[in-house]
């Protein structure tokens, strides 16, 4: 174990010169602190309450390291484009922003859609690490070692017309790639911004993708973030996405997990001022030996905010799901409206789910509700459909798609809705 940690420390010493922030900048200090934190914490163990159901010790079996820059053919990214979506395209290859593969149109004054590595230091100093806390080894490692990622900056009163599509292509056929994108998204006052992140594998070797995305929503802004995880069964995907909302914002997060050997999503929304809304919708389909852990946190810090959370899982094979939904309603956060629901269908006897809703309410004038339901496919409904001539496979598909429907209903963008619907329905065989 000590040995494994040492390997990451060595990587830090070797690469520190090439990372942003020279040795005197604030960023360098952030990184140095982070690597110390990583040294201290290591990867979490199941003794840690937040990692009780997700055992990451398998990561110690591999020597994950930075993959050399690869020149990929343009056609590779092409096939992951979303048909009919007018998008600014960013392609991240093994965590590194690919200028060759990305296609970004010219932007109005002040808008930045680009690589984190080439970001101005002032901007980084002002925001990086401000909307995420280093509370485990993964965040620490990302902060210490992330070489690149996406920076999106939308100034006040600006509407980004096109959706930003970030395609992550990860994997290396010669080594176990350590892929650590670090993204920073700043939405100014009265701005509008839609982002879709899609994650894919390009090689079969075990890969550790450890990403951190920090989002700052300025007053009265509207931000939507969609994430599709569809990597192969050799990928370990650990992600933290944290959004901080100022006054009267609307932030919606949609998470669709189809792939990955082990997936852990920490998705946090901090309602830091009044009259804001945070929406968190998730759908995960697991099979074989997949493990998907969704940890969510909605932190109501101020009054008159609302949050809606809805997660649905369909688990088959020997797969294992975890849902842990924390909702904090702080003392100040009167008139909070918080709704959480988490449902799962287990399609096999060996599939398993651990769920834990966690409501901690310190204000007294609030409306909070949460519900959880775990069940099997409704056999009565299945028979009903079959008795009308629909074959069993199709009937199952119809029922599972119906189960997922209330998550789909939340996806307003028609192109993304239909595209995800097709992918998910295809997967429901």
């Amino acid at each position: 174990m000590e040995n494994i940690i040492e390997k990451y420390l060595t990587q830090f010493r070797e690469s520190t010169e090439s990372l942003n922030g020279n040795s005197v900048s604030g960023i360098h200090k952030l990184r140095t602190n982070a690597i110390e934190k990583f040294h201290e914490l290591g990867f979490p163990t199941t003794k840690n309450e937040d990692w009780k159901y997700t055992n990451v010790s398998v990561l110690n079996n591999f020597h994950f390291r930075k993959s050399p820059v690869q020149n990929l053919d343009k056609s590779l990214a092409e096939k992951y484009k979303i048909p009919g979506l007018d998008a600014e395209l960013i392609v991240i290859v093994n965590g590194i922003f690919s200028h060759e593969l990305s296609e970004i149109s010219s932007q109005p004054d002040g808008v930045v859609i680009g690589s984190l590595k080439s970001a101005e230091n002032d901007l980084l100093n002002a925001h990086l690490g401000k909307y995420s806390e280093i509370n485990n080894g993964f965040t620490a490692l990302n902060t210490a070692l992330a070489g690149d990622g996406v920076l999106i900056y939308v100034p006040d009163n600006t509407v980004l017309k096109k959706t930003v599509h970030i395609i992550y292509l990860s994997g290396d056929d010669n080594l176990n790639a350590l892929v650590q994108p670090r993204n920073l998204i700043i939405a100014g006052e009265n701005s509008r911004l839609n982002i879709i992140e899609t994650y894919h594998s390009i090689y079969g070797n075990e890969t550790l993708l450890n990403s951190v995305t920090e989002i700052k929503c300025g007053r009265n802004s509207g931000v939507k973030l969609y994430r599709l995880q569809s990597e192969n069964n050799q990928t370990f995907h650990i992600n933290l996405t944290e959004a901080h909302l100022e006054e009267a914002c609307n932030y919606s997060h949609y998470s669709v997990t189809l792939g990955g050997r082990l997936v852990r999503n920490d998705t946090n929304i901090v309602l830091d001022a009044e009259n804001s809304t945070g929406n968190l919708y998730g759908l995960y389909l697991t099979e074989e030996n997949q493990h998907v852990d969704n940890h969510t946190l909605i932190d109501h810090r101020k009054p008159h905010c609302q949050s809606n959370e809805l997660y649905k899982g369909i688990l088959s094979g020997k797969s294992h799901g975890v849902f842990n939904g924390k909702v904090f309603v702080r003392k100040d956060a009167q008139k909070t409206n918080a709704y959480q629901s988490n449902k799962a269908i287990l399609l096999s006897d060996d599939a398993k789910i651990d769920t834990k809703p966690q409501l901690e309410i310190f204000a007294d004038d609030v409306k909070c509700s949460h519900g959880a339901a775990i069940g099997q496919l409704d056999e009565q409904a299945l028979f009903y459909l079959r008795s009308r001539g629909i074959d069993e496979a199709n009937a199952r598909k119809i029922l599972l798609r119906a189960f997922a429907n209330d998550v789909f209903e939340k996806i307003e963008d028609e192109v993304i809705h239909n595209w995800l619907n097709e992918i998910v329905t295809e997967r429901l065989k």
Binding site: D378, F383, R386, G389
Partner: protein, 250 residues
């Protein structure tokens, strides 16, 4: 069309049907009556192919084929239809999508062309008028939030849409007000033809005033205790099931 020979069926080791024999020919309507728990729904469910029933002996021959050998969907495609006593609610699946899928699967099986959306809509509107189904009901999820009567009406609507050869109606009359009863009966009567057959499971003579049966059978404790013409239903109404049971003992 349908020949049930000495059928024994158990559920969870408990014997429910104890030697049922019944023959139904094209153009006929058979009514099955009988006390609660006598096995009427069991018989209907076994015909439709529901899981959980063990046929310990006997056979069901449908159109010359071994019905018990077929999957539920195959039976449906071959023309067997069950109007459920308790139709299931299926949230998230719209009534229209469900019916279009079902109809096209059946048409495909029969070697007929699938209906496109426009053709389907036209066909559906015709049938809706017949059963008095409101357009709004079709965009709603299957049976979800439907009243008891609406659910039953929806079953007959499906009967009309799918045009099976053998329709088994399991207490389709229960929970219907008098107007709905007439509409449902009318739905069944317009369906009737010389080429199909109907089995009506009911507790009440009332329905049989509208759907006039050729034969009435009384199922008691898993056996057909008595069979007769339509006047048997009237007699039952008057004298109750005890009368049949007594008759059985004689």
């Amino acid at each position: 069309m349908l020949k049930i020979n000495d059928l024994f069926v158990s559920v969870e080791e408990k014997e429910i049907l104890k030697g049922v024999s019944l023959e139904v020919n094209k153009g006929e309507v058979h009514a099955i009556m009988g006390p609660n728990g006598s096995g009427k729904s069991t018989l209907a469910n076994v015909i439709a192919g529901k899981d959980g029933y063990e046929v310990t002996s006997g056979e069901i021959i449908y159109e010359g084929k071994d019905l018990l050998d077929m999957d539920p969907e195959e039976r449906a495609r071959e023309g067997v239809f069950l109007a459920f006593q308790y139709p299931v609610e299926i949230p998230g699946v719209s009534n229209a999508t469900f019916l279009k899928t079902a109809l096209n699967e059946i048409r495909k099986y029969r070697g007929e062309a699938e209906l496109d959306s426009r053709e389907f809509l036209q066909y559906m509107r015709e049938k809706m008028k017949l059963i008095g189904i409101d357009e709004s009901m079709l965009s709603r999820s299957v049976n979800q939030g439907f009243s008891g009567g609406e659910k039953k009406r929806n079953e007959i609507f499906q009967l009309q849409m799918l045009q099976p050869k053998l329709a088994v109606l399991d207490e389709t009359d229960s929970g219907l007000d008098i107007d709905a009863l007439k509409i449902v009966a009318n739905g069944v009567n317009t369906f009737r033809s010389a080429d199909n057959a109907v089995i009506v499971v009911t507790h009440y003579q009332r329905l049989l005033n509208y759907i006039i049966p050729d034969f009435v059978h009384v199922l008691v404790d898993g056996k057909i205790a008595r069979s007769g013409g339509k006047e048997l239903a009237l007699e039952l109404e008057e004298k109750g099931y005890e009368w049949v049971k007594e008759g059985e003992a004689v």
